[in-house]
């Protein structure tokens, strides 16, 4: 009887609705609910309902079929009541799996070896399979609409493609079905590289039926897997084709220019009143010889002419919301008290101002007025009164009168700006180490830092470019440079470059000056190794370094030798910008152990440029900026972004917070915070190691679920011919090595089945035991090389598990688990290994019998 005649009677619909509400209901209660006196009528209808209901221990309940029918009924009701239920009708949102299977002939490459028609017949009978289609060459199809129409006509919401390896065409296939099927619902059965191409040899053919059976099972397992795939949380984000760059230093500016030229709207946000960053105050850029302010001013001029760039100086970030592709950033533009547009830069206001304070742009070595221009060539070239200084202003308003253009506005208020951007870039640079007490830092006593020395060298600096003793304003006879002042982050080349630059500059200015450069080995202890590789003869590497003062003269005592120093330059190290920690809260990125921005972050729409990653010289900064520009252009060139998180999920109801997962995580992505596990989605790479060790199954992967892998093992174990071998291969190396064997067409026995796991660390001991229980004779585990594991140490983790397992297992099984490291091109080794293992197992099985 068809569904419609079953449902035609209101009485039967009523029964279904009662059962839906109650779950289990005994016969007598049902009669009562329906207000029936006699059993006859009820019996009749119950019988008519057929497979929609069932009986268990005298209670009735709805079967799975019944539930589906009820869903339809409910939707009907809603349509009749005028509700828009399109989302329920779309095949994409349905919870019922309708699997479409595509078999690709691969231009007879596959069909020559596997009987495709027999395969089709078998698959057609499998559960949830709606339609099977054979293609001559799926990857060469010109008319994709034909394929997507097939999907739509059959209401297919999940697809299995039996073709070549996912390594070859997965992305192409995903693109074909992009509009109709989610990526997670596309499963590929690798019947070319791991079946058709490896099971035929020139002389000795394997039994074609066995190869067919293997292909059948591979596809069946893929179908089962795709049926089990739950909805992966995915979100479609319309991409805002703009970018916010925080920090207007050299990195930020170079990036802004690159992006603007590619047609991307750029907001260049700078906290200080001018662009230029630190480099603008330096003398010249090493290796290039160009003076940095000339270079920067040229760059700024180019920026200003670019229509796509909006420069926001004196601006800070208040709040960030949204996600990759569509961020909303709230900004606060602090008052400048001078209208940039009206100002001509005549500096009359500065002339007349009577209040002075130390100039922070000259490291407080000189004074400036409270209305000031940070430095020549600063942009925008308009005076400013810092917000903190306005309270020191005596409100004489003489500057107002001095300004011809009436640009001064002492009542200016802060301005709130909201921008929408697709990506954000952090380029705020780093700070300089400033805790210099142990070096007796005191500029007035001729012990200065490297940035101060840069200002001294710079022709617009406080000495107009002359190297002078600050105390007596005479040229020094000897200069000592102490390298690596501050914490050391292993990048010593940067210091070398600086020191060489200073050596050259001093020699130019004062040819007779004696210059000594010191490295204090005591401080470098931990980095001694990296140091020894690039020791430079020009420098002194000393074990013991002290600065003493004698007769008003500074003397450096190093290795008990005295070096009189008229001027001591402390080459200070770059330390993490103090703003990083504050920005981190609003900007969503992670810090590394040293407190710099972690490079792990790059990949999620939040990028970093320049020295926020640690000390970098000019060239490297420019090259990272260019690199990031490419990434941003690539990201913003799309119209929309579908974000899927293919990592892990935590079921808090099962989680006992034992911390095994956080222990096993190679990226420290899992932390315990206030009696709750939290996953750092930026750090999580989806290796699944945590899932394999979770004792309560509280952590599960979104795609490579335990359930799916166990079901795959179950299906593959249906293969009849012994010895049966199962191989767990990691996605990046093991699986690729197996593919490589296929690409090289090296033949091996069809008795081996390859199961892909994200990382060998994902392999739970229960997979191995499960395989043996299901009748597999051998288990192979193939992962990356030991020191090049894609997920740091997944291979070592599985190795430890196997060692323990072998200790406990029946000795018979000890030889039946093998673990091997391979890289992606070792197909020959893979095939050899399979053959040897196959022969070993066949011998053992013969012996057993």
């Amino acid at each position: 009887m068809d569904i419609y005649s079953i449902l035609s009677h209101p009485f039967r619909r009523k029964i279904l609705l009662i059962l839906e509400k109650e779950g289990y209901i005994p016969y007598t209660d049902l009669m009562e609910r329906l207000n029936l006196e006699t059993t006859g009528q009820l019996n009749f209808h119950l019988k008519k309902l057929g497979s929609l209901i069932n009986k268990d221990k005298k209670s009735y309940f709805i079967t799975e079929d019944g539930k589906k029918i009820l869903q339809i009924l409910n939707i009907n009701k809603r349509i009749l009541s005028g509700e828009n239920v399109d989302e329920y009708l779309g095949a994409k949102g349905s919870t019922i799996s309708r699997v479409g299977v595509i078999i690709c002939n691969c231009n007879t490459e596959i069909s020559n070896i596997i009987n495709v028609n027999a395969l089709e017949n078998y698959i057609n009978k499998l559960r949830n399979v709606v339609s099977v289609k054979i293609f001559e060459n799926l990857c060469q199809q010109k008319n994709f609409s034909k394929i997507t129409n097939w999907v739509k006509e059959n209401f297919i919401n999940k697809i299995v493609i039996a073709a070549c390896s996912p390594k070859t065409h997965q992305h192409l296939f995903e693109r074909i079905f992009e509009k109709v099927i989610e990526h997670a619902n596309i499963e590929i059965a690798n019947i070319r590289e791991q079946c058709a191409w490896v099971h035929h040899s020139n002389g000795r053919e394997f039994d074609p039926l066995l190869i067919l059976e293997k292909a059948k099972l591979l596809i069946e397992a893929a179908i089962e897997r795709v049926i089990m795939q739950k909805k992966v949380k995915a979100k479609r984000v319309e991409i805002e084709k703009s970018c916010a760059i925080i920090g207007g230093g050299i990195g930020g500016m170079t990036l802004a220019l690159n992006l603007a030229k590619a047609g991307i709207k750029v907001y260049l946000i700078e906290k200080s009143p001018t662009l230029g960053g630190k480099v603008a105050r330096w003398d010249r850029i090493s290796n290039i010889g160009d003076c940095s302010i000339c270079f920067i001013s040229e760059l700024i001029a180019e920026l200003v002419n670019e229509k796509n760039i909006k420069i926001l100086t004196n601006t800070e970030i208040e709040n960030v919301s949204g996600e990759v592709g569509n961020f909303t950033i709230d900004l606060i533009k602090k008052p400048r008290f001078v209208d940039e547009k009206k100002c001509t830069g005549c500096k009359q206001c500065i002339e007349v101002c009577s209040i002075e304070k130390p100039n922070q742009y000259e490291f407080e070595l000189t004074n400036r007025k409270i209305i000031y221009i940070p430095f020549i060539h600063s942009y925008p070239f308009a005076p400013i009164i810092d917000e903190e200084d306005i309270k020191n202003c005596i409100n004489c308003r003489i500057c107002e009168r001095a300004c011809i253009n009436k640009a001064i506005d002492l009542d200016q208020k802060l301005e709130k700006i909201r921008i929408k951007v697709g990506t954000k870039v952090i380029a705020i640079g780093s700070d300089l180490y400033s805790d210099l007490e142990e070096y007796h830092y005191n500029p007035k006593n001729d012990i200065i830092t490297s940035p101060e020395f840069e200002r001294m060298l710079s022709s617009d600096g406080f000495t107009n470019g002359d190297i002078l003793k600050i105390s007596s304003k005479v040229p020094p006879e000897s200069v000592s440079i102490i390298q690596c002042v501050g914490p050391i982050y292993n990048r010593l080349e940067y210091n070398d470059i600086l020191a060489l630059k200073y050596l050259e500059s001093i020699k130019q200015h004062i040819p007779n000056c004696e210059v000594n450069v010191f490295y204090d080995l005591n401080k470098l202890k931990e980095n001694h190794n990296s140091l020894s590789t690039h020791m430079d003869k020009k420098f002194h590497y000393v074990n013991d370094l002290k600065i003493i003062e004698r007769n008003n003269k500074n003397i450096i005592v190093a290795n008990s030798k005295e070096y009189p120093s008229d001027l001591i330059v402390l080459n200070v190290m770059m330390v993490p910008n103090k703003d990083l920690k504050i920005l981190r809260k609003t900007m969503d990125f992670t810090l590394d152990d040293n407190g710099f921005m972690s490079e792990e972050t790059i990949a999620s729409g939040i990028y970093g440029v320049g020295t926020i990653f640690g000390p970098l010289d000019y060239n490297s900064t420019i090259s990272t900026a260019n690199n990031v520009a490419l990434k941003i252009i690539a990201l913003l060139s799309k119209d929309s972004l579908i974000s899927e998180f293919s990592g892990i999920e935590i079921n808090e109801e099962l989680c006992g917070i034992c911390g095994l997962c956080s222990k096993s995580c190679p990226y420290n992505a899992i932390t315990i915070e206030s009696d709750k596990l939290s996953i750092d989605m930026f750090k999580c790479k989806g290796c699944g190691t945590c899932v394999s060790v979770c004792p309560t199954n509280a952590i599960e992967m979104n795609i490579d679920t335990t359930e799916k892998i166990n079901r795959t093992i179950e299906i593959l174990s249906k293969f009849k011919k012994r010895p049966k071998i199962i191989a767990f291969c990691c996605r990046s190396c093991g699986y690729a090595a197996a593919d490589d064997a296929g690409l090289k067409k090296i033949s091996y026995n069809p008795n081996i089945f390859i199961v892909q796991v994200p990382c060998t660390g994902r392999i739970d001991t229960s997979f191995i035991i499960n395989s043996f229980e299901h009748g597999f004779d051998g288990v192979m585990i193939i992962g990356c090389r030991r020191n090049s594991c894609r997920y740091i140490d997944g291979i070592e983790k599985i190795q430890r598990k196997i060692e323990l397992l072998k200790d406990v297992l029946n000795p018979k099984y000890k030889k039946r688990i093998i673990i091997e490291n391979m890289n992606a091109v070792e197909g020959i080794k893979f095939a050899e290994m399979v053959k040897t293992f196959y022969n070993q197992l066949s011998e053992e099985i013969k012996f057993e019998a």
Partner: protein
Amino acid sequence: MKPKILISSLTGCSGCISTLLSLDIFPQFLERTKIIYFPFIMDVEEIEECDIALIEGCVSEDSQVNLLKKIRKQTKKVYSIGTCAGFGGILSLSKKRIAEPVSKYIEIDGVIPGCPPPSKLLGNCLIKLIENREIDVDIPKKNLCATCPLRGEAEENFQTKITQINPNPEEIIPVEEDTECFLKRGILCLGPITRDGCEHVCIKEGLPCEGCMGPVSKSFFSNTINFISLIHLSKKIRNYDGIFYRFSKPTFKR
């Protein structure tokens, strides 16, 4: 009508029965049920139809298998009490005798774990059974760490070097407020892979968990290996028999 109860003992120490007899609700239990088969305290040979069967001890003889099958036939619901009946129990340590859980031979409706089951747990379960409610011990739960009294504030990583299976005798003292996690102290504790529900009887007395409540969700065997692979057991305590077979018998016994 009072539910008819059958209580049967297989191979084991009868500790579970003793716990049952000493329950504070046992008199109430006797009042509200009709015990029809309980060889421990009464002489009945024949197994009659009954509502609830409670089975204690592991299966180690063929005759026991027959008995179990008979019980299953006559009973509406069968529950195994204690670790022996549930997972195989301490006899799994023996290399010769078989020690199989009841569930290997007959279908059971639930396991009340523990060696012996904690009296509160057992009492609650019995009351639920009498009242014809489902016992929920079988539903996968959190592990022992979830409610552990030794749980510190936001505990990060535990010690990875495990040098002892048991604490030194003089260190076995009831838990105080500042007692540290066993794993932090380098003592093997199977808490992370053991089901919650025992109220930490051993831990409160200063002994680490040995896993008598049975596995959390995956098999005990694979859980143990996954767990131990994360820590470094010192060579001298690599006595896997004690760790693996104390309370359950894995399928792949050596």
